[in-house]
């Protein structure tokens, strides 16, 4: 979790689970398999000079390492903070973003988890308002915490219902 003063107030920020790092890294590993296959194929096919296989392999390896490192930083940049009357969500390293959603404007709260996320025990809580540009998603919550967050948000949303 980074500590840039422009994006954090003194509230209690909650980082997301580090399991999300493993889940997202697995996706990168899975994506690397076809690349490895291509490199081997390039190596074995006689008319292609081996240099090309080297170049493709090197580019693949560099991007793999870069993504591996980036995922760690990116996941640690996610944090959320439930305040008395609104929810704060922050994300991003290069392009930073801080969303504040008043509870009274929440229309629905989604809890979703794909197969890889489920295998690692993380879920995403997504908050929707009437605006399409809100985009307040908290990925990488442990299912119990996600359910608790969802219920809390729904309850607070109801008590502050206003909106359109």
């Amino acid at each position: 979790m980074n500590t840039d003063s422009a994006f954090y107030s003194n509230d209690d920020w909650v980082p997301v689970s580090e399991k999300l790092i493993s889940a997202r890294r697995l996706v990168v590993v899975l994506a690397a398999i076809p690349v490895i296959g291509i490199v081997i194929a390039l190596w074995l096919i006689p008319p292609v000079p081996n240099l090309i296989a080297w170049i493709v392999g090197a580019v693949g390896l560099v991007s793999f390492i870069w993504l591996w490192w980036l995922i760690g930083r990116r996941v640690r940049s996610y944090a959320y903070c439930e305040r008395e009357s609104d929810l704060l969500v922050t994300s991003g390293i290069l392009f930073r973003r801080l969303v504040i959603v008043p509870y009274g404007r929440m229309q629905l709260v989604d809890v979703t988890a794909g197969p890889i996320d489920r295998a690692f025990g993380v879920t995403t809580v997504q908050i929707h308002t009437a605006a399409a540009t809100t985009d307040a998603a908290i990925p990488g919550l442990v299912p119990e915490i996600a359910a608790a967050v969802r219920d809390r948000l729904a309850k607070r949303g109801e008590s502050r219902a206003a909106g359109l």
């Binding site: 422009a6 392009f95 404007r105 009437a130 399409a132 540009t133």
Partner: protein, 448 residues
Amino acid sequence: MITLGSGLTDSQGHRKLSPVSPLLSAASVLPAIIGFAFAISVPSGFNFTQYFPALRPFVAAVLVIGLASLALSILVALFQILGWRAFSFWVDQDGDLRVRSGVLIRNERRVQLSRIQAVDVVQPLIARIFSMAVLVVEVAGQKDSRVTFRFLSLTDATEIRQTLLNLAAGTKTESAETDSPILFRLPSRDLALGLLLRTSTVLLFSATISILIFSYLTEGWAGITFALVTGGVPFLIVIIEFITYYGFTVYDSPDGLRLRYGLLKTENRTVPEGRVQAIDFIEPLLWRRHSWTRVTINIAGVGSSSQGSSGKNKETLLLPVATRSLAETIVFRVLPNIDLTGIDWKVAPNRAVKRSPIQLRNLAMGWGPNSFAARRGRITRHLTVIPHARTQSVHMTQGPWERALNLASLHVDTTPGPVSVVALHLDADEVREALYGQVGRVYQGGGI
């Protein structure tokens, strides 16, 4: 049972469309049929004179195409008669509108009147000749959300519209609406001039002229086809928009603003009070001498997503061209409490010149007790305003270049539409302060 309009009814007391509608429908497809017949017969070298050897080829061609098209449109009319027989509509015991239609596949739709968004009376050219109209009922919902009644007599359509609006508003009393006061009528000259002076039009026209001059000087006429596109397309757009917004008139009515416009096809649109979410005053460079502005709005339920068709654009346009002061008067009619004067503007710091050298002098944000406003754009200026009570959420963003300059952007999120309220590249600390302040103001500033 509530009676709808004063037209024809069937044995069950259900309303029917006007009996001439099959003929009108057939007549309105006639030009397309003629065009099609022409397009398939003439280029293929069809021998027209084989049917009328005595006539000259041209007369024979007109006669053959005319007769064939007539026969086809009679066929269309026959199908339309079947459709007309199957079509009926009424208000049921629960106070919902029911529409029955379909010859082969019968279909009965139930329209919850409380979900009605707009009831519009539209007059396409062919209908206007016979003083008929099309009634369009817009219902909240994403897909297939409109019911079209093609054709009713104009008075009948107006009556039904009024009844449906009254039912939807929960008031079952009749209220006169014909003599709503006119707030604004756009002179055709201003509309034409405004469309011509738009930045994109002017740029494309000047590109065309420079291509023509260049072609003339170099005698390389290959650029001419390109000039046709750069000159022709904006010309066509100007013509189309002129026809669409011709005679743009704004009426004051109990349910909001009523807009009426169109040369070939009269559109009637209601901008309901209290459904407007955000406003954008757009001022292209060459409009400033007249202090003209174009006003677009976000309306709840009329989302113009990425595929935003031209129809959606029309629904989110409040004024095509008007002077600034008049535009503000009209906007105040649908959003009475917004603050446009006395805003304490927070302008972009001078160092933002490294991020956006052109826009810099018009980048600012500010707020009053009831609304938030943001300015951006230099050549085409935007002034966007959103009431605090309509704010959905707020977010700030900071890219790497902005971070190096200690700048940030503040976005105030509104419902989908053409207006996006964003204060770009302001001092990061000011933005942060405004962000937390703005979310606090969301719950205040009610009463809109």
